[in-house]
């Protein structure tokens, strides 16, 4: 009997070791009071430690990336405070990047002493592919931005040409005033001042463009949704005029700040605004009206609504509107709305569309304000990284 039991145990052990190997997960049992730690072979392999040396928290410390050592101290404090469980993501101090997920739960040994039983998993592959996906999402968001830059070309030319015309006219008038006999110096001074003012205006347009379309990583900051919307409106105004769209804005005066990426949120606003303007092109028998409203809604979220009097959409189209590569426009790529929804979800919010009671459609998003818990944008400064899958296919 005994040899059978031993053989069965041996088989069990081999199987467990194999499972640990396949899942890149090692097990440990840690006794905080004595500092002793019992580990399986996989832990030694993951930490790249000599299997003959007993593992201690101190020894583990020598293997952890210096920037993550504070996490190890934190883990020790948690254990001292008898936390029921903990979980940490750590980087190893090795030649290549290696990410670990350490999780443990409190138990008791036969002498009623606290001990922690846990697992150390090598999650490097998962982390690297998540990071790559985050980078890809950022690039896609930028691509969507650049494609809206194309849609705004005429509007931008108009915004820049307007102050340039002022500069040209003021400078010409200044020359005329200086060459009159006698020269009208007061009036000439006035035109010179106007030249400076128009130059500043041209610079502001360029600064707004750089802010909105320049290449940059995600950034988390306090955002005034009204201010962000006003800047987008300023850039798009002549595009709206060109399309004979009448814009009305109702921006809530007491809107609290939100936390997020200002440029990405502006990208969403721009996208909704351009879509609305486009939906109104075929309309000839009624006014092309656009309403942009911000409000603090019942759920304590900051909400931005874009309502148009355009062609609307078929009710059966609704579920597909936010899918990547779904488009009803001849020149559209179908990424604007899907990227927009992804950005809003990363901010812990929601983006939706509904048909108006009258003609047209309403697109709106709501995001938590700073007073609320907003655990959104994040990891490594790449806010898109934690969001829903971007490419949603039917």
């Amino acid at each position: 009997m005994v040899p059978d039991v031993l053989a069965a145990l041996k088989r069990q052990e081999t199987l467990m070791a194999e499972i640990e190997r396949v899942s890149s997960t090692g097990g440990f049992c840690w006794h905080p009071a004595t500092g002793t730690m019992t580990c399986t072979d996989e832990v030694y392999r993951i930490l790249e430690l000599d299997a003959t040396v007993p593992v201690t928290l101190q020894l583990m410390g020598t293997r952890i990336h210096p920037e993550d050592l504070a996490l190890l101290d934190d883990m020790f404090e948690k254990a001292s405070a008898q936390a029921s469980e903990f979980e940490y993501q750590l980087r190893l101090r090795t030649d290549r990047v290696k990410y670990l997920l350490v999780s443990a739960r409190r138990g008791e040994d036969p002498d009623d002493q606290a001990l922690y039983i846990g697992a150390i998993q090598d999650v490097t592959r998962r982390r690297l592919s998540e990071d790559a996906l985050g980078t890809l999402r950022c690039e896609l968001a930028r691509l969507a931005r650049v494609s809206s830059l194309g849609a705004l070309t005429a509007s931008i030319a108009h915004e820049v040409n307007q102050p340039l015309a002022g500069i040209m006219i003021n400078a010409s008038t200044c020359l005329e005033l200086l060459s009159s006999d006698p020269p009208d110096l007061d009036a000439a001074r006035e035109t010179a001042l106007r030249t400076i003012r128009d130059t500043e205006r041209a610079c502001e347009v360029i600064a707004r463009l750089r802010g909105l379309f320049g290449k940059r990583g995600g950034k988390t900051e306090s955002v005034d949704l009204n201010g962000a919307a006003r800047e987008v409106i300023a850039l798009s105004l002549s595009e709206l005029h060109r399309r004979q769209v009448t814009l009305r804005t109702e921006l809530a005066a007491d809107l609290p700040l939100i936390t997020g990426d200002r440029v990405q949120l502006q990208q969403v606003i721009l996208n909704l605004l351009l879509n609305a303007a486009e939906a109104m092109i075929p309309i000839e028998d009624r006014p092309r009206q656009l309403l942009i409203r911000t409000e603090f809604d019942a759920a304590d979220q900051a909400r931005l609504t874009v309502q148009d009097s355009g062609v609307g959409f078929e009710p059966q189209e609704a579920p597909r509107l936010f899918e990547a590569f779904y488009t009803t426009k001849s020149g559209g790529m179908g990424i604007g709305l899907s990227v927009s929804r992804s950005i809003i979800e990363t901010h812990g919010g929601r983006l939706w569309a509904e048909l108006n009671a009258g003609p047209g459609a309403t697109f709106a998003f709501s995001v938590p304000t700073r007073g609320n818990t907003c655990d959104a944008p994040s990891r490594g400064g790449v806010p898109l990284a934690d969001s829903e899958p971007l490419m949603r296919r039917a």
Binding site: H158, Q162, A165, I169, S172, S180, R242, T246
Partner: protein, 123 residues
């Protein structure tokens, strides 16, 4: 200047309304400015205006809308369009519909003077 020829400027852009009058006055014309087509139509200047410097894109009534409205009322005021959209097709279309000139912003003082002279039949 009371007997000088009246040139009206209709542009929603404030810096245009501030800069253009001084220049046009230096050319020897009397100037009135309006922020919109509607404001111009409601003024007492319509009958006296000898030339209209008209912005193309404006909120509400656009430049071409005003051009059509004036022609509907039988007012034949020569029009010099000014626009921030450098679009040649648009320019051809405006000229075909009777505009004297269509200047792309930014335009030179000389180009504006020439357009005004053409509009007023001055050589």
């Amino acid at each position: 200047m009371a007997d000088a020829v009246l040139v009206a400027i209709v542009d929603d852009d404030e810096s245009m309304r501030q800069s253009l009058p001084d220049l046009v006055s230096k050319f020897g014309f009397r100037v009135r400015t309006f922020t919109s087509a509607e404001e111009f139509l409601a003024s007492d200047c319509v009958g006296q205006t000898k030339c209209l410097i008209l912005d193309f894109a404006m909120p509400g009534m656009s430049g071409p809308d005003l051009q059509r409205e004036l022609s509907r009322r039988g007012q034949t005021i020569p029009i010099v369009f000014i626009t921030g959209q450098p679009d040649q097709d648009l320019r051809r279309q405006l000229l075909a519909e009777g505009a004297v000139e269509c200047l792309f912003k930014p335009f030179s003082a000389a180009a504006l003077r020439e357009a005004l002279n053409t509009a007023l039949g001055v050589n």
